[in-house]
C-alpha cells in the first residue's frame, strides 16, 4: 500500500466514523431538533402544563373566530387526523388564513386549548403566478396547502 493510498483510507475511515457519530447524536437529539409538534404528537404525548413549545399544522377551514374586541383569535390547527384548538391574542402574519400552514409558540392549557403568544405562517414549496393558481383551483385539480399535480413543468 502506498503512502497516498494509506492516507486516503485513513481519511475516509475517520470521516465515516465521524459521520456515524454525528448521525447518532442527531437521532438522539431528535426531540429538540424538531421545530414544532403536530396535533397528533401532542395528543399522543401531552406536554407538561406551562411548558413552552411550538405546534404546527393547517388552520382548519371555517374554524377562525375573532373575539368581539377583535384582538383575540381562536382557530383549530389540524394535521387532518387530530385537531388542536388555539387561542391567540395579537397581530397575525399576512399569510395567515384558513387552509394555511402555521406554527404557534405557547403553552397547552389545562382545558386542552393551546394558548399561543406567537403565530408564524409557514410557507409551502409551491411557486406560481396567480393566474395559474386560479386556473388550477377552478379546474378542481388543486387546493391550497396541497402538493401541486405535475402540471407546472
Amino acid at each position: 500500500m502506498t503512502r497516498k493510498r494509506k492516507r486516503l483510507w485513513l481519511l475516509l475511515g475517520s470521516l465515516g466514523a465521524f459521520a456515524v457519530a454525528v448521525g447518532l447524536v442527531l437521532v438522539a437529539l431528535n426531540d429538540s431538533l424538531v421545530f414544532f409538534y403536530s396535533p397528533t404528537e401532542i395528543a399522543a404525548k401531552p406536554p407538561p402544563a406551562e411548558k413552552s413549545l411550538r405546534i404546527g399544522g393547517l388552520v382548519a377551514p371555517g374554524s377562525v373566530v375573532k373575539s368581539a374586541d377583535g384582538l383575540t383569535t381562536t382557530f383549530d390547527v389540524t394535521d387532518t387526523s387530530h385537531t388542536l384548538k388555539v387561542s391567540y391574542r395579537g397581530q397575525l402574519p399576512d399569510l395567515f388564513r384558513e387552509g394555511q400552514g402555521i406554527v404557534a409558540l405557547g403553552t397547552l392549557r389545562a382545558d386542552g386549548v393551546f394558548a399561543a403568544r406567537e403565530v408564524l405562517a409557514k410557507h409551502d414549496e409551491n411557486y406560481m403566478p396567480p393566474e395559474v393558481a386560479d386556473a388550477l383551483k377552478k379546474a378542481g385539480r388543486w387546493k391550497e396547502g396541497e402538493p401541486v399535480p405535475g402540471n407546472t413543468k
Binding site: 442527531l26 431528535n30 409551491n126 396567480p130 393566474e131 405535475g150 413543468k153
Partner: protein, 242 residues
C-alpha cells in the same frame, strides 16, 4: 496515483496560463448572466400567488444557498487533495474559495431574513434549516481564520483542510433538514425527486440566476487563486532573500 486527472492543473504555471486565457471570457459571461438574470427576476417574472412581489427575494436567496453549499463541497475536496495527495494548488485554491463561499452563505442568510419577516412574521427562528445554514457560514469563517492562524502558512493550510473535511457532514444536514425534522423553512421546491413545484415562468429566471451565481463563483475563485499563487511566490522570495 489514484487520480491522474487531478494533476492536470497541478503545475501553478500551467494553471496561470489556463486561467489567464479563460478569465476575460468568463468575466464577460458572468456580467451577461447577471444582467439577464436580474432583468428576468426583477422585471419579467410574475408575482407569486401567495407571496406577491416578495417572491423576487427567492431569486437572490436560493442560488446563493445552492452555490455556498457546492463551494463548501469543493473546499472539502480541496482539503482532501491537500491532505491525501499533497496537491500543490489545493491549499491556494482553498484560500481562494473560502471567502467567496462565506459571502454566498451570508447573502443567503440575510436575504432569507428579509423574506422571512413579511412571509413568516419573523426575521429569524432557530429551526434545523436556518441553524445548519448559519453553521455553514461559521465553518467558512473558521476556515478563513484557521488558515491564517499560523506563522507557517502550510500548517494553517493543513489545519483548515481538516476543518473543511469535518464540516462536510453539515451539507447533508442542511439539504435534508427540512425532510428529517419539522422546520419552519419550506421543503425543497426544485431539487426533489418528483420534479420542481415551481411554475416555469418563475423557475426559468431562478435557473438563469443560478447560472449567474455559478459563473461569478468560478470567476472569483480562478482570479483569487492566481492572486494566491503570486502571494505565495512573494513570500518564498522574501524568505529566501531573492
Amino acid at each position: 496515483m489514484a487520480m491522474p486527472s487531478i494533476h492536470f492543473l497541478a503545475n501553478p504555471a500551467r494553471f496561470q496560463r489556463f486561467s489567464a486565457r479563460i478569465l476575460p471570457w468568463l468575466g464577460a459571461l458572468t456580467a451577461l448572466l447577471w444582467a439577464s438574470g436580474l432583468y428576468m427576476a426583477l422585471l419579467v417574472a410574475p408575482p407569486d400567488y401567495q407571496q406577491g412581489e416578495t417572491v423576487r427575494i427567492m431569486f437572490v436567496h436560493v442560488p446563493a444557498a445552492w452555490w455556498s453549499m457546492a463551494a463548501y463541497a469543493l473546499l472539502a475536496g480541496l482539503g482532501a487533495a491537500l491532505l491525501v495527495w499533497r496537491h500543490p494548488l489545493a491549499a491556494l485554491m482553498a484560500r481562494a474559495v473560502a471567502p467567496v463561499g462565506a459571502a454566498y452563505a451570508l447573502v443567503c442568510l440575510v436575504s432569507g431574513s428579509f423574506w422571512g419577516r413579511p412571509m413568516w412574521g419573523t426575521w429569524w427562528v432557530w429551526d434545523a434549516r436556518l441553524t445548519s445554514m448559519l453553521l455553514l457560514f461559521f465553518l467558512y469563517l473558521g476556515h478563513i481564520a484557521l488558515s491564517r492562524a499560523f506563522d507557517d502558512s502550510e500548517r494553517g493550510d493543513r489545519a483548515a483542510a481538516v476543518l473543511a473535511l469535518v464540516g462536510v457532514v453539515n451539507l447533508p444536514v442542511i439539504k435534508f433538514s427540512v425532510d428529517w425534522w419539522n422546520t419552519l423553512h419550506q421543503p425543497a421546491s426544485v431539487m426533489k425527486l418528483d420534479g420542481p413545484a415551481i411554475h416555469p415562468s418563475i423557475l426559468t429566471p431562478l435557473l438563469v440566476m443560478a447560472a449567474a451565481y455559478l459563473a461569478l463563483l468560478v470567476f472569483l475563485v480562478l482570479l483569487r487563486t492566481e492572486t494566491e499563487i503570486g502571494r505565495r511566490r512573494l513570500e518564498t522570495a522574501a524568505l529566501t532573500g531573492r
